[in-house]
Amino acid sequence: MKNATDMSQRHDSGFTVEVGAQSGQKLSACYQCGNCTAGCPASFVYDRQVNQIMRGVQLGMKDEVLDSRAIWLCLSCSTCSLRCPNNIDVAAVMETLRHMARKENRVAVGNVEKFWFSFLNTVRAFGRSWEIGTMALYMMRSLRLFTDLDLAPEALKKQKLGFKPHVVAQGGASSVTRIFKRYKERAEREGVRP
């Protein structure tokens, strides 16, 4: 997408329609002013800038867009949506792309997804998130054994992190576990990756 206007690239207009429908945004309104990119705090780590992603979506460049690292590094800060002169909820487009990429098992930045699931697994188990549990699961999954080890002494000294998870009482934890179970079963029924 270095040359996003190169029309010789393969394009898939079905993809454009799908992103528009799922995000509820009028994608054709984007006129490439670049405001979204100018305000994006994550732009310095993006492989494609957010306005390029928008153009890519308009042109139906599905592979380029869904395989980009940018959709995974987006911080969901909504600055782009706030500053788009055409009132496009650009952050919602980015989120839609993330969902579509995940469902097709195209995850360009695996560690981000691993972190999300580490977090969600503690929620599934206890009904509430648990920071130390999230860290431990993440380290196992990503094989990054020393992530944040530099913070550990201070965090432990200040009792910043709870050694024990907080379990929701009154059967609440199992009620949350059932939410995750139904979510997973439904995704399997519908043939998408949960």
């Binding site: 691993k114 200040k158 059967g171 139904r182």
Partner: protein
């Protein structure tokens, strides 16, 4: 007065000091925060990044509990929880979406959910600036503070309903009511790097460093935060940010409730100040007894809303 309360998970872990100081300050203001029973995690960023309906199911369970309790308004200290709960309430207005979410829940969610608002807005609605001033026991006049909201508190504007999404001013109003000097801080709604401190540490370190550097250059005595994740990135991760920026930072990062508590004369222990990585002792040294204590609120006080 009783207020239904959703603390959020970090209140029970990394932001125990936010929780402690919120409880203490609300008690002074006459706000009794009552946790809704059996609340669960809102799912935070990971849930909505993975699936909107999963996120909404986790949030709906909480909103449903509050509705069953007959709650009119639910308060939460955490902008991320607030954002998720409010997004869900909005999305559940769509019957098709609601039906998909109900499928994930034990029982279909209540048809009407109570409104959810931030503790900060709850305080401003509960008492005006004069009301707050009547509780002041310590003079914060020597403190220069950089208010920092982060990205979620005011955005998206239509969901969060927090004033000007680029330039919210509620925290400034509360801090000024407490007698502090408040900077016009240009990065007040810039992103700190959110939850990417773990999987993409460099990005978060660079974004946090930008905020720490500006506050340092503007000679702030402290950055004042309202979000557990922002506070953690700016305080606990401050050495990572300093390393990334090749700088030395020594910037205390307090919650707005901790600053208010100091003005109200509450002890550092009551406010959980010992949890801060960057010590607040330099701030404490600048506090003086309040010159005059007006016990009765002045009529016609300015509202912070």
């Amino acid at each position: 007065m009783n207020y239904a309360y959703y603390p959020g998970c970090s209140a029970k872990g990394s932001s125990a000091d936010y929780e402690k100081s919120t409880q203490a300050v609300c008690a002074v203001l006459g706000m009794n925060l009552v946790e809704i029973p059996g609340w669960n995690c809102c799912g935070s960023t990971p849930a909505h990044a993975v699936d909107t309906e999963l996120s909404a199911a986790l949030c709906s369970r909480n909103l449903d509990i509050a509705a069953q309790q007959g709650v009119e308004k639910l308060l939460t200290p955490c902008p991320s929880c607030l954002s998720n709960l409010r997004h869900t309430a909005k999305r559940m207005e769509n019957p098709q979406f609601r039906a998909r979410v109900d499928e994930l829940l034990d029982n279909p969610a209540a048809p009407d959910f109570p409104g959810v608002t931030s503790v900060m807005q709850g305080m401003a609605a509960h008492c005006d600036a004069n009301g707050i001033a009547s509780f002041i026991r310590k003079d914060l006049g020597q403190l220069t503070l950089a208010p920092y909201y982060g990205c979620l508190m005011s955005r998206p504007a239509d969901i969060m309903d927090f004033g000007d999404p680029e330039n919210p001013t509620l925290m400034e109003c509360l801090l000024a009511a407490c007698g502090a000097k408040v900077l016009d801080f240009p990065l007040k709604t810039a992103c700190c790097g959110a939850s990417y401190g773990i999987p993409e540490r460099t990005m978060t370190a660079r974004l946090s460093a930008r905020i720490l550097r500006l506050a340092t250059d503007m000679k702030a005595d402290a950055i004042v935060a309202a979000c557990p994740l922002c506070q953690m990135n700016l305080d606990l991760r401050q050495p990572q940010a300093a390393k990334e920026a090749d700088a030395i930072f020594a910037m205390p990062v307090l919650y707005f409730t901790q600053i208010m508590g100091l003005a109200f004369g509450l002890s550092p222990d009551t406010l959980g100040l010992e949890k801060l990585r960057v010590s607040a002792s330099a701030l404490l040294d600048k506090l003086e007894p309040a010159p005059s204590i007006s016990k009765t609120p002045v009529e016609g006080g300015q509202s912070c809303e």
